[in-house]
């Protein structure tokens, strides 16, 4: 006997075929602590060998699950221990970058994250040099992703690192100018970075994580949008309830895929990340969910409230559907990856300032935003500082992934292709914050961090 009725079966099929339901990523987190050596040749070899051994069957297992269950699994990825920790005794961080990229190619994954440093309270001896290597690392590799955590609620904001990251982002854009500054799409600056995030470009396998773990990121903005079309004009209680029920169903699929992948690979299941992650495909947009709630265009007044409701309802619906929820879990608002956001930014309805407000209530931050190529490093640092302050004070993860589009100005756009989409160049505030950034030092942790 069938346990589910035909209406439910057709509902699931429609979600997959017409509403873009997919599992966005299976990400294998791998600890590299046992690869540490004071001989960089040895350390690099051990890193490559370990990743290619543990992730040997990751892609084929993902494809098998996809075929058997008929649910698309868009990405298979790897996250590793922050490389700044692994290369600290031996240096030569760029050799690690190249070995990681080779390992990504050998295993066939879409991205490998973890060329990362954690400097919220200050730099270790090796950190500053490591961070300075990021532009070259991203320019000379294909699949490597990088992130730097410059702030936490407990430590405050490392403004020296904020200043450095402004320059690093500019240098990365210049080093990859022939590809539209693509390197910057693989670089995230974080406050309160999470250690089990399966999504790129910010994924790394934190120091408190197990030897190896499977983390799964679900998706499905299109499914939520279609569900809301069926409750047009109804009060917000109904909207929240509809999003919760939909998020529950989506997450159950993610949980099932995570358990199945974990069992087949013989690797413990870590978490399911309940994020609504848009793609540039028609009908797979977070902005269109907000518009479905009654906004003429994303970015107008009411957008922050709509996003707050969405983000909260996604978490509430998903949390009971999974045994372990983690990662970023909420709604992503990457401008270039979302057809509705692109349209809103092009029409001028969605501005950088409004996006900043939206990041107070969504799961990440200023994401995949192109700014004019002549934007100064200090202004980018100012953008980062504001975003870090939001994360630190609100005890949440925030991030900045901006792309200074070399040679381009407001009104132009940058084409990345694939899931990364198209970024319209958005205006930044022209007044200088250079003296503010030049102060350096650390902004102290907020009073509510003193909980002990």
């Amino acid at each position: 006997m069938l346990n589910v009725n035909p209406v439910e079966i057709i509902e699931t099929l429609n979600m997959i075929k017409d509403e873009h339901l997919d599992v966005r990523t299976i990400t294998m987190g791998i600890s590299l602590f046992d690869c540490v050596s004071d001989d960089w040749h040895r350390a690099v070899d051990k890193v490559y060998d370990k990743i290619t051994r543990l992730a040997e069957n990751l892609v084929s297992t993902g494809e098998q699950i996809e075929a058997e269950f008929g649910i698309p699994i868009v990405n298979k990825r790897i996250s590793v221990t922050p490389i700044s920790l692994i290369c600290a005794p031996c240096g030569h961080s760029l050799e690690f970058a190249r070995a990681l990229d080779r390992a990504a190619k050998t295993t066939g994954v879409n991205f490998l994250g973890g060329y990362s440093a954690l400097v919220a309270k200050g730099y270790s001896n090796a950190d500053r040099e490591f961070i300075a290597s990021i532009p070259e690392a991203l320019a000379t590799t294909d699949f490597l992703c990088s992130s730097v955590n410059v702030a936490t609620t407990k430590a405050g904001i490392n403004m020296d690192a904020v200043a450095q990251m402004g320059r690093v982002i500019k240098d990365t854009a210049a080093a990859t100018a022939d590809r539209g500054g693509f390197g910057c799409a693989k670089l995230v600056v974080f406050a309160n970075a999470v250690e089990d995030n399966p999504f790129m470009a910010g994924a790394f396998h934190g120091a408190g994580e197990p030897e190896c773990a499977i983390n799964v990121g679900v998706s499905g903005p299109g499914v939520v949008k279609c569900a809301l079309e069926r409750v047009k004009g109804r009060p917000f209680g109904v909207v929240a309830e509809t999003v919760k029920k939909t998020a529950f169903k989506i997450t159950r699929v993610g949980q099932m895929v995570a358990e199945e992948a974990s069992r087949r690979l013989g690797v413990p299941f870590g978490i399911v990340d309940l994020s609504l992650a848009p793609t540039p495909a028609r009908g797979d947009s977070v902005a269109h969910i907000l518009e479905e709630m009654g906004l003429e265009q994303c970015g107008t007044h009411g957008t922050t409230a709509a996003l707050a409701l969405l983000n909260d309802a996604v978490k509430k619906g998903g949390v009971m559907a999974s045994s372990y929820v983690g990662g970023l879990s909420g709604a992503f608002i990457p401008v270039s990856e979302d057809a509705g956001m692109i349209a809103a930014a092009e029409s001028g309805c969605l501005t950088l300032e409004k996006l900043e407000a939206m990041t107070c209530v969504c799961s990440v931050g200023l994401d995949m935003i192109a700014v004019p190529g002549d934007t100064s490093a200090e202004t980018i640092s100012g953008i980062i500082a504001d975003e870090m302050a939001i994360g630190v004070v609100n005890t949440k993860t925030t991030a900045v992934r901006v792309i200074p589009a070399v040679g381009k100005k407001v009104g132009d756009s940058v084409e990345f292709g694939g899931l990364l989409g198209t970024a319209p160049v958005m205006p930044v505030n022209g007044a200088s914050c250079a003296d503010f950034i030049a102060r350096g030092g650390r902004i102290p942790a907020p009073i509510h961090s003193l909980k002990n």
Binding site: P6, T12, E68
Partner: protein, 89 residues
């Protein structure tokens, strides 16, 4: 392995015969079958057991899709757990 075969499309003669014929040829046992018209679209759902079949689900999906193309309907086969996990707590 239990799986759900779903056929969706315009009704015509021979759909059940052709699909069940393909399953028979490949030693897939039909455990349950239901057929209905949903929003003017013919919908047939079968619960099958592929334990005795020499083909894996991916190959069966390819074969069924071919049968579907000949009939002008969409045919898919997916493991039952997908639907149970989404709709049953």
């Amino acid at each position: 392995m239990k799986a759900v075969v779903t056929v969706v499309g315009k009704d015509r003669t021979g759909i059940i015969a052709r699909v069940s014929g393909y399953l028979y040829e490949n030693s897939v046992n039909i455990l349950d079958i239901s057929q209905t018209i949903m929003q003017d679209i013919f919908t047939m759902i079968m619960l099958v057991d592929s334990a005795e079949s020499g083909l894996d689900l991916s190959s069966l999906q390819t074969g069924l899709a071919r049968v579907g193309d000949e009939l002008g309907v969409s045919v898919s086969i997916q493991r039952e757990e997908l639907f149970n996990s989404m709709h049953r707590i």
